[in-house]
């Protein structure tokens, strides 16, 4: 039925003979490229001028005193988020969204289509830098990426009249250095990176970060391909502080990872896929994200007491995924209204209990069940040491990224 591409012997022999014509053709192409090289610079120039104005005329006036909720009835808020950040990982059955729509008449179009900070930025950079909308009123990105968006003026400030509950944000997250007083962002979820393991296979209870490097578990360990998590935990294992560290300590951690990998310590270096092997017991111990382990245990009751998760005594890593309004959003007021709804402790409690992540909303814990209050995923002990990786300037970000990639992708 289908004809495969049939190689034409005549054509190819002509190909071999006509070297001169090809060369001529290539020079013509080079000239064309030269001409076309000019156009991107013109386009880029147009783009950059637009983005610098967008920080000044940031959509709705932020000085509105009163929220006009009535005018928002019937509108839609479009949100891009990560997987597993809404109840049941299914927006159509989410009580949070349903209660929001019932109360305000605003519909929510929710998509779990963010699967990486870098890939998200790659897709939307052209539109964002030109100030064009990307089809979303709310996006959620991890702190280091969010910081760049704020700096580049790719996000709009909150219309504070619509978001009074913003003041409910937990103290520790109220004023990060990259977004003073949270004018442009607000945390959606906070997770922890710790260690998950099978006590039965690892010979008992563990609490040390160095367990990852223990030769006893050679070949049965997995670490994460997320640089800040793997390097961060390794720094903690080496007795360093990832939130202040410095390039030397960070490179030392990368070197330690590379050495362990060469020695065959790691079964795999993965992204989210690590739960598969952990579930099957092929992995005995691994770096893990709190939310994944929580869902794993809930989804597989027979594994619930066979797999444990801990924040090492040296400390664990924490990450914060932040919601923001991207430039060109069509419904920034609705977006703020939705975040306002989420930041109501009565709503936040059940939501974060369902998704098994730490809530950034003060008082949300009071609205959770007793079981949730005891859960280290949702309500970690106040004294557990959790560190956010230090904010890297671009040059150091690149260097560390390169080093980590070289250590883990060869």
């Amino acid at each position: 039925m289908t004809t495969p591409n049939e190689f034409d012997p005549d054509l190819l022999s002509q190909l071999a003979d006509q070297r001169t014509s090809r060369r001529r053709f290539m020079t013509r192409g080079a000239m064309l490229l030269g001409g076309l090289a000019i156009s991107p610079t013109i386009l880029a120039a147009c783009g950059s001028s637009k983005s610098s104005t967008s920080t000044n005329d940031a959509g709705p006036a932020t000085t509105e005193a009163v929220a006009d909720m009535a005018s928002l009835k019937g509108t839609t808020v479009s949100m891009f988020n990560w997987p597993l950040y809404i109840e049941n990982d299914d927006a159509t059955t989410s009580p949070t969204i349903k209660s929001f729509t019932d109360q305000t008449g605003i519909k929510v179009s929710y998509q779990s289509n963010i699967d990486g900070n870098d890939s998200f930025t790659t897709k939307y950079e052209p539109d964002l830098s030109k100030g064009n909308g990307i089809g979303a009123d709310l996006i959620v990105l991890t702190s280091w990426e969010a910081a760049q968006y704020v700096e580049k003026g790719w996000v709009e400030p909150w219309p504070t009249a619509y978001f009074p509950n913003m003041s409910n944000v937990v103290d520790g997250q109220a004023n990060p250095e990259w977004d003073a007083n949270r004018t442009h962002s607000i945390p959606w979820a906070m997770g922890q990176t710790g260690i998950a393991y099978w006590p039965s296979k690892c010979g008992g209870t563990l609490d040390d970060a160095n367990a990852i490097f223990d030769p006893k578990f050679k070949g049965k360990v997995t670490i994460l391909d997320e640089m800040r998590d793997s390097v961060g935990l390794t720094m903690l294992a080496m007795g360093n502080d990832p939130s202040t560290g410095g390039l030397d300590q960070e490179n030392a951690a990368v070197a330690k990872i590379a050495a362990a990998r060469d020695a065959g310590q790691f079964r795999k270096i993965t992204g989210n896929g690590y739960t598969e092997d952990l579930q099957l017991g092929d992995t005995w111990i691994c770096m893990a994200w709190s939310g994944d382990i929580a869902s794993l245990k809930l989804g597989n009751p027979d594994l619930a007491d066979k797999i444990e998760f801990y924040i090492p005594t040296q400390g664990g890593m924490t990450f914060v995924d932040n919601a923001m309004i991207p430039v060109g959003a069509k419904n920034p007021h609705g977006a703020a209204a939705f975040m306002n709804h989420v930041y109501d402790p009565a709503v936040a409690g059940p939501l974060y209990e369902a998704i098994n992540y730490v809530s950034p909303v003060k008082g949300a814990v009071d609205y959770m069940s007793d079981a949730a209050k005891k859960s280290i995923y949702i309500n970690p002990a106040v004294d557990s040491k959790l560190y956010e990786f230090r904010l890297l300037p671009p040059a150091e970000d690149q260097e560390l990224n390169r080093a980590f990639t070289a250590a883990t992708q060869q």
Partner: protein, 298 residues
């Protein structure tokens, strides 16, 4: 390059059709030859089985109800995925997008590719060799290189990735497939039919519509079907040049981190069945046309 045109006696021709290609004069004894033949059959059928096993697995696992979110291990038989195929709206939307993209890409590629094929077959001109080179390159280039280079170009132009960039990316390699397929089909045609029509006073456009087009139509249809299938299935080039909207394969890829639902197998099986039915239909129609032609021209 053409086979020698000596015509042997009909009996010899008839004999060589029935007997195995290798006739014996000396060489190994019969039992060894029979063993060789048997081994060949086993290897060949084994290769076919090798090709088929995964397809069978795909179909079977569309009836699986996995324990977790990944449809990798058989757990229990269930028709759930078949009764609720659109459970995941992102999959349904992705499939619709794939179909839309495939239609647009097919139309554009067939038009552009057929024009190129016509030019290459009917005319002799100076740039023919260079054109041939350009045509062959997309067929011999790894998709990741094509996709990535196009991405860097889009980034340089500051074009946002979306529907149009997907179309452009796919058309780029489909043009070559169309041009090569149509060209192969229409080579050796008797173009003097066109000349005859022109001599009889028909205008060029009429000649094209009534003479040329019907002649090349089978080739075009074959190329169109091929392009549609290629577009639907394309992953690497599309993935590197997608934006918000994701085609079916791209959606599977990004979704696989969180889940691999049975619905994917349902969609794949459905596409398989529809394609097979269409192919069979095409063959059947071909047979009937041939019968008709043979009735007229015995």
């Amino acid at each position: 390059m053409a086979a020698p045109t000596i015509d042997p006696a009909p009996e010899i021709l008839a004999r060589s059709k029935d007997q195995p290609a290798i006739l014996g004069h000396g060489g190994p004894p019969l039992w060894l030859r029979k063993l060789g033949n048997w081994t060949l059959t086993v290897v060949a059928l084994g290769a076919l089985a090798y090709l088929f096993v995964p397809i069978v697995v795909v179909v079977i696992y569309s009836f699986n109800k996995p324990l977790g979110k990944y449809n990798y291990v058989w757990h229990q038989f269930s028709l759930e995925a078949w009764t609720d195929p659109f459970k995941y709206p992102e999959l349904k939307d992705a499939l619709l997008l794939s179909l839309k993209v495939a239609c647009v890409v097919t139309i554009i590629s067939v038009v552009l590719g057929t024009l190129i094929a016509l030019a290459m077959v009917k005319y002799r001109f100076k740039a023919k060799g260079a054109m041939g080179t350009i045509l062959i390159l997309p067929l011999t280039m790894p998709e990741v290189v094509m996709g990535f280079s196009l991405l860097t170009w889009f980034v340089a132009l500051s074009w946002s990735r979306g529907f149009f960039t997907i179309i452009i990316a796919q058309v780029m390699f489909c043009i070559s497939y169309v041009a090569t397929t149509v060209r192969a089909r229409i080579r050796g045609f008797n173009w003097s039919l066109e000349e005859a029509a022109l001599d009889l006073g028909a205008k060029p456009w009429r000649v094209f519509r009534r003479v040329t087009f019907p002649l090349i139509l089978p080739g075009i249809l074959a190329a169109a079907l091929l392009t549609f299938a290629l577009s639907l299935d394309d992953f690497i080039i599309t993935y590197l040049n997608s934006g918000l909207q994701q085609t079916f394969p791209v959606e599977i890829w990004t979704l696989k981190k969180s889940r691999v639902p049975t619905q994917i197998n349902v969609f794949a099986t459905t596409i398989l069945v529809i394609s097979v039915v269409m192919a069979l239909l095409g063959v059947w129609i071909g047979f009937r046309r041939e019968k008709k032609v043979r009735q007229v021209n015995p």
